[in-house]
């Protein structure tokens, strides 16, 4: 590439990226328009919730337990330096409910469910199934994509709640049963410090937003994948990268909106 090619190449890349962003915006609008009719065909959504939600349960629960264990261990060592070891329950619960539950579940969801969605849609495209549906006057967006979109939005908050709940129980196992913190202090400090609407509610809102973002990215990447094996592989990689960055970026924005303004 010579120097004189640099500027046109830059322009081409920038324009193609902008066009891609515009296409993805249209795609999102199409998805949202297809949601009401999809609610009427809920058996399609239920099948997808099984594929996205049920199949993710093991990894979400196991990760939640592990994160709860580690939070309790690390938190105990730091808190006991200031004589605040009794607040371990509060620390574990707030960390999980506000941040780690939605974010880690979002990252795991992007990796597990997002890649399977992208691969499935990409392979459908490569096998010309989507084109065949259009030939039969069946809109693939409504029949194939919208149920998966709705299923992702439903499954994500449930998975995040399971992650947080299992994590708190894991924190209880390590903190009370292994490290010897008083169980009464563990739960009562937590209950007085965690607010239902400000903490649990905001965590649920975050997980819904992450669910929309991850599912949308996964479906879009699958829909736009090149109809070859390499194309599908690249699309799945892009899904994980873009979803993860989106989750982390949105988390920062949402945290700034929800938790920094004093009420």
């Amino acid at each position: 590439m010579t120097a004189s090619d640099l500027l046109p190449t830059l322009g081409r890349v920038a324009l193609s990226n902008l066009r891609g962003m515009g296409r993805s915006a249209f795609f999102l609008v199409e998805m949202l328009k297809q949601l009401p009719p999809t609610l009427l065909r809920f058996h399609l959504v239920a099948a997808q919730i099984h594929a996205i939600g049920n199949r993710s349960l093991v990894i979400i629960a196991a990760s939640g337990l592990a994160v709860g264990f580690v939070l309790a261990l690390q938190g105990y060592y730091t808190l006991s330096r200031y004589g605040a070891a009794e607040s371990l329950g509060l620390m574990v619960a707030l960390s999980l409910v506000r941040e780690l539950g939605p974010v880690v579940t979002g990252l795991l969801f992007a990796g597990r469910a997002g890649t399977s969605l992208t691969a499935e849609i990409g392979l459908m495209k490569a096998g010309e199934q989507l084109a065949a549906m259009e030939m039969m006057a069946v809109d693939p967006k409504g029949r194939v994509l919208a149920p998966r979109f709705l299923a992702g939005i439903i499954a994500m908050p449930l998975l995040a709640a399971i992650f947080s709940a299992v994590g708190i129980l894991g924190g209880y196992v390590v903190g009370v049963l292994m490290l010897g913190i008083d169980p009464g202090a563990f739960w009562s400090q937590m209950q007085s410090g965690v607010d239902v609407w400000d903490d649990v509610g905001n965590g649920v809102i975050k997980s819904v937003v992450f669910g929309v973002a991850c599912t949308f990215v996964a479906l879009y990447q699958g829909y736009e994948a090149a109809a070859t094996p390499e194309g599908v592989a690249q699309a799945t990689t892009r899904t994980v990268v873009v979803s993860s960055l989106a989750v982390l970026g949105l988390d920062f924005v949402l945290t700034a909106l929800m938790f920094s303004a004093p009420h």
């Binding site: 409910v97 439903i154 908050p157």
Partner: protein, 157 residues
């Protein structure tokens, strides 16, 4: 997989997720602490509400009997008006006094009610007449320094 089996599994997953949310709301957070039951509203005016926030607890003898629901500035008297909701089962006499106290030394502030001896009780919409403002640390320090300076001056004489 048969459709019935799959629907059962999905139902189980949704149930599990809902139970997790309910567990978080009840066991991890403070949903059950007060919200159930009928309440009535009282107001009180303070010269300085200090760090009192909406949703701060209202306690009598250390037991939570209500929550602060609104704080506003009265444009005529320039006093802070605190509106609170109390549990209907707790009736207070109309010479009850309200103080803004701090939980612990530097903790969150809450409203403390001390019942008086009157026969009449406060009704819904009633006003607590005797109030004591919050202790403002800066005023306290200023007072302390002023006293020390006054003592020092008196000793020299």
């Amino acid at each position: 997989m048969g459709r019935k089996a799959m629907e059962t599994l999905v139902g189980g997953f949704v149930l599990l997720g809902t139970l997790a949310v309910v567990f978080l709301a009840l066991k991890a957070a403070n949903l059950t602490s007060f919200n159930a039951g009928p309440t009535y509203t009282l107001t009180a005016s303070f010269d300085n509400i200090g760090g009192l926030k909406v949703r701060a607890p209202v306690k009598s003898a250390g037991v939570t009997v209500g929550r602060v629901t609104a704080i506003s500035l009265d444009p005529k008297t320039f006093q802070g008006t605190v509106t609170m909701q109390l549990d209907q089962r707790m009736q207070f006499p109309d010479d009850t006094s309200a103080k803004i106290l701090t939980a612990g030394l530097l903790g969150d502030q809450y409203l403390g009610l001390e019942p008086g001896g009157s026969d009449q009780n406060l009704n819904d919409g009633g006003r607590i007449k005797m109030t004591q403002s919050a202790v403002v640390l800066e005023n306290l320090i200023g007072q302390f320094l002023y006293n020390r300076a006054a003592e020092g001056g008196a000793e020299k004489k």
